[in-house]
Amino acid sequence: MSDDIYKYEDMELLRFTTAGSVDDGKSTLIGRLLYDSKSIFQDQYEAIEATSLRRGESEVNLAYLTDGLKAEREQGITIDVAYRYFSTPKRKFIIADTPGHIQYTRNMVTGASTANVALILIDARNGVVEQTRRHAIIASLLQIPHLLVCINKMDLVDYKEEAYHKIHQEFEKFASKLDIKDVSFIPISALKGDNVVDRSSRMTWYEGPTLLYYLENVHIASDHNFIDVRFPVQYVVRPHSDEFHDYRGYAGRVAGGVIKKGDKVMVLPSGFTSKVAKINTFDGEINEAFPPMSATVLLEDDIDISRGDMIVRENNSPEATQDLEIMVCWFNDRPLQPRGKYTILHTSQEARCIIKEVRYKMDINTLHRNTDDKDIKMNDIARIVVRTTKPLFVDSYNKNRITGSVILVDEGTNETMGAGMII
């Protein structure tokens, strides 16, 4: 037994987001994954069994497993991102479960922001619908590295290959207009369990992986940027103890690249250069740090560095700029104010900004750029130009999801108003 616990050292973490409309069977699919991977406990199962009975349903409804808060259960809809967990011996999975309805675009964007994989559900009877296109566009905008299209309810089209191929082609035709690197398709029935965990005997024409096999094996090791060193300083560690008298460590989470001991580095905004003297952790010194590690970097020279500064390689630095072109998703019921001022958060930096221009609003069903309608309301996606009070050290979101993202905060209510991706 004592060896068994060390097996877990090889498990990887995969985050995926699910999107689908109420009737696509998303809750059933998640319930199925949790149930078939034996991640449901007896008391949880008994609770949904009782609920199913009370509501007069003939079978245990796995969809109730993902039902969240009281308010939602009463309305029968999901109104927020819910996080679910399950694991297999190979991987631990975090599902960001988001509702698919148009007014929940912001939730989809939230769930997508940290995902490795976007799982899109299509009802085999209906094919590619408006919501499918919206989900794919959001996955592309948020640069989710892998897109998985599950064509669900195959049981209702007699498991016919033609139905699957028609949707497959339809989706590929549309997706060719998007910036998606890796797309896969799987025909499933979440209700009956076909191709979810176990291979279906009713679709022998399909030779690809099951859903779980895909999730366990999709290559995610290169989802981070390991090339351009970006280390936003989060916190300065100063022990002030006798043992560590002159210790000055810069704590942070590596946002990009591999930082090595001995590397020549430059600190922004000062532009001073130094060398990495040590990379420290509680578990001892390490020779290199890479995303998404948290570490503490010590430099050879005594330079004044504080939170908000960024450590980079001398010959590879992000753009230092006060003018940003951003694709923004609006989150609040108070619309974006043209010329409005907001607090802008970027890595460990904070500044104020003014909205200088709305270039266009994007129709998230068709990708159409509307340059006439510039009223940006909740759930809208738009390209805007902002000017900040001080330079931020940015990369394009395409290049780095961490140093390429910002949020806008209302200075009066403190609410998060929008999420932006730097172009």
Partner: protein, 300 residues
């Protein structure tokens, strides 16, 4: 060269990031310490986050007065070893001051009263962020909880008015008198916590390991026989080998029959067990939405 972290190291990195973010973004944070394994993990991760400096905020224990003595002993040793400040918010004091009225009868519990003592302690200490060891896999009302959870001036949680969280950008802006609850281990599951504690060889309170104890059965759960619980005449205590899956107030923390006396055996037990760890918590069973209701009022 293959650069990748295993799932436990990735969870660790994420939690350390959130804990450091709290130290950087708030003026006066506090770490809520219950004595359970999740808060022990929190203290351990905080130690890692600021090493070689000390943890730059105090621990806060809300003491119902109905503690397992083993939990208090562990707490005091930990505080001494790390050199952190411990603050205690007392439910007994809140009762004595007349802030709350104690429940009576067989199912009397001080669990609900903790909320009052907690909010009072947070207000008294002028804490603007309270770090907690809650996990999203624990209970359905927690599945949508944020890392940074905003509370109004009454300490209340409004599920409809939580800020969206994207990437690793956390918005800690607030008005005077409001505070945040922050949950750095949101993404850990019970099994993750145990695997990590085992790999890191973290010392744990003896209560988690199988031991002999006088227990009695109520509503399908085993409770520890103690002076704080009024037994019905039919409830006869007997000695059994048991262990705690969670550690809380003695009146509502169920114990489970078990022979797991090492962390490895506990992991094996959890991996095969079919009941969630909160399954033994009488406070969650009061109604289908009891956790959600308590959270709205400011429960941890």
């Amino acid at each position: 060269m293959d650069y990748h972290l295993n799932h436990l190291k990735e969870l660790e990195a994420e939690s350390i990031f959130v804990i450091r973010e709290v130290a950087a973004q708030f003026e006066n944070p506090v770490l809520m310490f219950s004595g359970g394994k999740d808060s022990i993990l929190m203290v351990y991760l905080a130690q890692k986050a600021f090493y070689p400096a000390r943890i730059p905020f105090p621990l806060l224990h809300i003491d119902t007065g109905h503690n397992f003595p083993e939990a208090i002993e562990y707490r005091d040793n930990l505080v001494k070893r790390l050199g952190v400040r411990l603050m205690v918010g007392s439910v007994q004091e809140a009762i004595d001051k007349g802030l709350v009225v104690e429940e009576k009868g067989y199912n009397a519990s001080r669990n609900g009263l903790q909320t009052v003592a907690l909010l009072e302690a947070l207000e008294k200490g002028k804490f603007d962020a309270a770090l907690g060891g809650a996990r999203r896999d624990e209970e359905k009302a927690r599945a949508k909880e944020r890392f940074f959870s905003h509370r109004d001036e009454f300490g209340q949680w409004n599920p409809k008015n939580q800020r969206p969280e994207l990437w690793n950008l956390f918005n800690s802006k607030k008005n005077f008198g409001e505070h945040f609850r922050v949950f750095p281990i949101s993404n850990w599951t019970e099994l993750d916590v145990w695997q990590y504690l085992a790999l890191e060889k973290v010392e744990l309170p003896s209560l988690y390991f199988a031991h002999k104890r006088m227990v009695f059965e109520r509503d399908g759960n085993l409770l520890a026989d103690c002076e704080f619980i009024q037994k019905r005449p039919t409830e006869v205590p007997k000695e059994m080998m048991v262990r705690c899956r969670t550690i809380g107030d003695m009146t509502c923390t169920g114990v489970a029959p078990s022979s797991a006396d090492t962390v490895e055996k506990i992991i094996q037990e959890i991996a095969t067990t079919r009941i969630t760890e909160r399954g033994g918590r009488a406070d969650d069973k009061r109604s289908e939405t009891s956790m959600e209701d308590r959270k709205k009022q400011g429960y941890f």
